[in-house]
């Protein structure tokens, strides 16, 4: 690890200011992605702005039919939160299936979506529920948030404060874990929310995406059978030694069906 200056502000304003002080500064949330990268000397931030002392960024609250989850809320907290389990059990299940207990007790919602790893689980829920990402500057629609592999709509130095998830009528998440890392090789989030049917996929492509053909089919008939024969083209899918593009494309259909089946 290279040397850096360490800051631990108490407020959002101080955090944004500290981050703005240097071009190579970076926020630190759970550190589950950032610290290994630094240890391997692949990242060398000049300043670390640790978000852990900012109180308003943690926790879950209900607001007008939506759940607002603070960016610093850990995966373990989301997985065990009574409100999340009652209102959006699929989200609690998704969080409880991330990594291992150590990772879940450190890793955060904000860190996960800011990082936008193509095989992270949360992007499927953000897209699948049509969530809104609230930052220190604005609100970003979930549909616009994920841009590309490790790339989001966030501007330089922009801080995620919370994510607002609409409470769905029905939702389910089905994950096919990578055998080695257990990240999502393919994860499909299916929801009926605010009169819409949404199908969002993570892991399969450089960035999470929705499958309109499946959404249309499920709007007609919310059943696994409705999805049969809807094949995702392998072009543009990720391909690595664990899963070729063709295999991933195939798994999108399988996981989508399993998600729907789990709701009946």
């Amino acid at each position: 690890m290279y040397n850096f200056d360490y800051h631990r502000p108490n407020s959002v304003d101080d955090a944004v200011r500290a981050r703005g002080g240097s071009e190579d500064a970076t926020f630190l949330a759970g550190g589950m992605t950032l610290l290994p990268t630094m240890k391997q000397r692949l990242a060398s931030p000049s300043d670390i702005v640790d978000l852990s002392a900012i109180q308003d960024m943690t926790g879950v609250c209900e607001d007008d039919g939506r759940l607002a989850i603070g960016a610093m809320t850990t995966h373990a907290s989301v997985a065990s939160d009574p409100l999340v389990n009652q209102k959006i059990p699929a989200l609690a299940k998704l969080a409880g299936g991330i990594g291992d207990p150590q990772v879940r007790n450190r890793g955060t919602l904000g860190g996960s979506i800011a990082n936008a790893d193509p095989s992270a689980d949360y992007p499927a829920a953000v897209l699948g529920l049509g969530a809104t990402v609230k930052t220190n500057k604005r609100e970003i629609s979930g549909d616009d948030f994920f841009v590309d592999m490790f790339e989001t709509a966030l501007e330089e130095g922009e801080l995620i404060l919370s994510v607002n998830f609409p409470v769905p009528d029905k939702a389910a998440y089905a994950k096919f874990p990578n055998p080695a890392s257990r990240y999502a090789m393919v994860g499909v989030f299916v929801a009926q929310v605010g009169g819409e049917t949404r199908v969002a996929v993570t892991g399969a492509a450089p960035s999470a995406f929705r499958v309109s053909e499946m959404e249309a089919a499920l709007s007609n008939s919310f059943s696994a059978d409705a999805l049969r024969g809807i094949n995702i083209p392998a072009d543009g899918m990720n391909s690595d030694l664990h899963g070729s593009a063709e295999y991933r494309a195939h798994l999108v259909n399988v996981m989508a069906r399993r998600a729907v089946e789990s709701l009946s």
């Binding site: 391997q40 890392s181 070729s244 295999y247």
Partner: protein, 774 residues
């Protein structure tokens, strides 16, 4: 037999320490004035080193020294030797390219050490290492062993004319040809025995020290026995007398064969310690383990079997390519040849066997022994081949085995490959395993799976291995002042629980509570000899030695007790820690004798310490049957192990709990190899699976419940304890049992071949290909 003696599943004496984090591994040891080493490693699989500029790096804060091959050469430091100088079919010895601790002029695999940077802190060493400028001239590399044998392949080792370093054969080719000529059926398979990264939980680590006053080295390092390492370092590498190097191995967190061998880091750090007059320490990072620990397996095999019309085996022919990596590690050429081919008879009567093995160099990390070392490879070939034979002949896979097994009445049985089996009942083990899993009721369970859209398969493997009796071992036991005993032994636990097992043997001898039975291992200053741990030999070799030394101690103590009780030693009985004049109630405790002998000069007595040893009479042949039942989801290619039964014959079992632990761990490693562990090099020789993000190790939830039965009524006939060895068996039985079950599930769907590791995508793809083909 005492309450905690042979046969009891007593809890491990080691566990309190290990489970509460009180283990003392090499990296836990801190020595005064220590400094830290970091290695500059090659990013290329093959390249010429045209220049190394250390100036900038050497001037960094905290940097004490930077050494390269030139420094080692100038000081006359020797290369790491290959200790298995096998003779090939042409009468030529294996070609052994130089294996220097730091690369000379050329690097041969990614991770090859090029320079050692020593600094006050590990951060400073790492920082400076980044500034060492090595000019590489990249050369074509070859990682694939088949490609390495092509006529125009890049030459891995420039001192050799080809990448074939040993062309080996064993058996009788003429007999085999005759067997095939008269065969009614021929079964033929091709298979891959995939390369695995060992991944011991504790990485390799060391502290090298040098005392200029005494001109003497001390090396703390993980090992599987100090003497094999010490002898090489003294005789082949540093050319110093044996008393000028002390090797100490503290607790070791897993070795699996990989920690037997001498490694470049040990040599370079000892050299640096001598130059600097300071202790130099190094602990490998996980990334370094992937790039520099010897790896395992990596064979491509074609095997054929000739059978008569009733499915009797007439002969087999096996041809293997073995990838040994870029250098020949200590035992490397022995593993695919002697260690493997001599087990090709399996548990069967096979009149004619011929095996050939081509050992190939490639630009990859060296390959050497890994849990089972050659026997798993042989067993995988045989058990896959026998399944294929059953299909060709049209026999049940259990039935064809029973028909061809060496029967109890055939024992002792000479396989014709330097192996004589002494004991066992192979049909009985298979039948018991099949009974437990309900082999005969499989069809109904398959139908049930099919109704749920799943493919079900069942498979078995009857394995045998050769282990235990290798070389000799020596044990020394002293009677301590408090009446306890201390065993000094040259075997080396890597976490198996040796202390517990030895304590059980000595508990039976002395009647002492286990905690009064101490063990010393892993220090060349106190342990005078030792073959170390490997090949499941410790309990047999160390155990018999310890029992014999214990008998001697008791004899000596009896003499003293006789004097103390004023009776003839012949009239004194020893039982449960008491010496008693026979037929009386006059007795004294062992502890009183101990105290007496430690009183010091004046009474004419001295403390009792006795040494005895055991020289191997023969190898032992643990064997057993693994049966595995699986379900495959054709939609995803995911495989689930539904049931797993093991019936093992390890001869006498000293501690059934420790033995079960060995089987569970072995099955986990075997399952890992069969289903998960995939070592992938790209065409340039870059290791693609170089971290746990990409290299899939088995996790607890991948493991089935292993239903284990130990058959204990057939002790080994060639050693006094009757033990056969248990350490490697699980890793031998699991891969063929799992793959045979998988093939059984897939063959009805039209799949004809699938190799390890059978990952979900491999399985899915095999099913896709077969459905498009049909």
């Amino acid at each position: 037999m005492g309450q905690f003696g042979i046969g009891q599943g007593v809890r491990r004496l080691e566990d309190q320490r290990f489970l509460t984090g009180e283990g003392r591994y090499t990296d836990d040891i801190v020595v005064p004035r220590q400094c830290h080493a970091f290695f500059v490693r090659s990013p290329f699989a093959s390249a010429a080193i045209t220049a190394i500029d250390i100036q900038d790096a050497a001037s960094q804060p905290g940097v004490l020294a930077i050494y390269t091959a030139e420094n080692l050469s100038q000081a006359g430091v020797g290369d790491i030797p290959c200790l298995a100088l096998m003779t090939g079919r042409d009468g030529q010895k294996v070609k052994t390219p130089p294996y220097p601790a730091l690369a000379r002029e050329r690097v041969h695999h990614v991770g090859d050490a090029v320079a050692i940077v020593v600094a006050e802190t590990i951060e400073q060493a790492q920082e400076a290492a980044e500034l060492v400028e090595v000019d590489y001239d990249p050369l074509p590399a070859v990682a694939d062993m088949k490609a390495a044998l092509e006529p125009d392949a890049p030459i891995v080792q420039e001192s050799l004319s080809s990448n074939l370093c040993l062309d080996w054969a064993q058996g009788n080719e003429t007999d085999v040809d005759a067997a095939f000529a008269k065969a009614d059926h021929i079964a033929r398979i091709e298979l891959v025995n995939n390369r695995v990264v060992v991944n011991s939980m504790e990485p390799r680590a060391l502290i090298a020290d040098y005392d200029p006053q005494e001109d003497k080295f001390t090396l703390h390092t993980g090992s599987q026995g100090i003497y094999r390492l010490k002898d090489q370092l003294c005789q082949n590498i540093f050319n110093i007398p044996a008393d000028k190097l002390r090797v100490i191995t503290p607790d070791v967190g897993g070795g699996f064969g990989m920690k037997i061998f001498a490694y470049p880091e040990q040599v370079a750090c000892l050299f640096a310690a001598r130059e600097l007059g300071r202790p130099v320490r190094w602990t490998g990072g996980r990334n370094e383990s992937f790039q520099s620990d010897t790896q395992g397996r990596d064979h491509l095999t074609t095997a054929e079997m000739a059978l008569d019309k009733d499915g009797h085996f007439l002969g087999i022919r096996v041809s293997t390519l073995a990838n040994l990596g870029a250098y020949l590690s200590n035992f490397a050429p022995y593993i695919p040849t002697g260690a493997s081919t001599q087990m090709y008879s399996g548990l069967y009567r096979i009149p004619a066997i011929h095996a050939e093995v081509k050992c190939v160099l490639t630009n990859t990390v060296p390959v050497d022994a890994y849990r089972g070392a050659g026997r798993p490879e042989a067993s995988y070939v045989m058990e896959r081949l026998v399944d294929e034979a059953a299909r060709v002949v049209g026999l049940d896979r259990g039935e064809i085995r029973v028909r061809n097994f060496i029967r109890p009445e055939d024992l002792p049985y000479d396989t014709g490959l330097n192996r004589v089996y002494d004991s066992g009942d192979y049909p009985r083990l298979l039948k018991e395993a099949c009974r437990q899993i309900d082999w005969d009721g499989f069809a109904a369970r398959r139908a049930d799976s099919r109704s749920r859209g799943l493919l079900r398969g069942i498979g078995l493997a009857s394995y045998v291995e050769a282990c235990g009796g290798m070389g000799e071992e020596e044990a020394r036991i002293s009677l301590d002042p408090d009446g306890g005993v201390t065993l000094v032994i040259g075997t080396m636990t890597n976490g198996q629980g040796h202390h517990t097992a030895y304590a059980q043997l000595l508990h039976d001898k002395f009647g002492l509570p286990l905690e009064k039975i101490r063990m010393v291992q892993g220090d060349s200053e106190t342990v005078h000899k030792g073959g170390g741990t490997g090949g499941s030999r410790s309990l047999l070799m160390g155990g018999v030695s310890a029992q014999r030394a214990a008998d001697r101690v008791i004899e000596k103590a009896r003499q003293v007790a006789g004097e103390m009780l004023e009776a003839a030693p012949d009239d004194i009985e020893f039982d449960e820690g008491h010496f008693r004049i026979a037929g009386t109630d006059l007795s004294i405790e062992l502890s009183e004798v101990a105290r007496r002998t430690h009183e010091g000069a004046g009474n004419g007595l001295s403390p009792i310490e006795e040494t005895d040893g055991y020289k191997a009479e023969a190898l032992t042949f643990p064997n057993g049957c693994h049966v595995c039942e699986i379900e495959v989801d054709p939609d995803t290619g995911c495989l689930r192990i539904v049931d797993y039964v093991v019936v093992d014959d390890f001869g006498t079992v000293v501690n059934p709990m420790l033995a079960a632990g060995q089987v569970h761990g072995g099955v986990a490693q075997g399952l890992g190899q069969a289903l998960l562990e995939h070592t992938v090099y790209d065409e340039e020789g870059q290791l693609i699976t170089a971290s746990f993000m990409d290299y899939a190790m088995p996790r607890a939830d991948d493991m089935p419940e292993v239903k284990l039965t130990l058959i204990e009524d057939m002790p080994c006939k060639t050693n006094p304890m009757g033990v056969k060895g248990a350490g490697e068996a699980g890793a031998i039985g699991a891969p063929p049992a799992i793959m045979n079950a998988l093939l059984d599930a897939l063959i009805p769907a039209g799949v004809t071949r699938i190799d390890m590791p059978a990952t979900p995508e491999q399985i899915w793809r095999a099913l896709q290909d077969s459905s498009t083909a049909s």
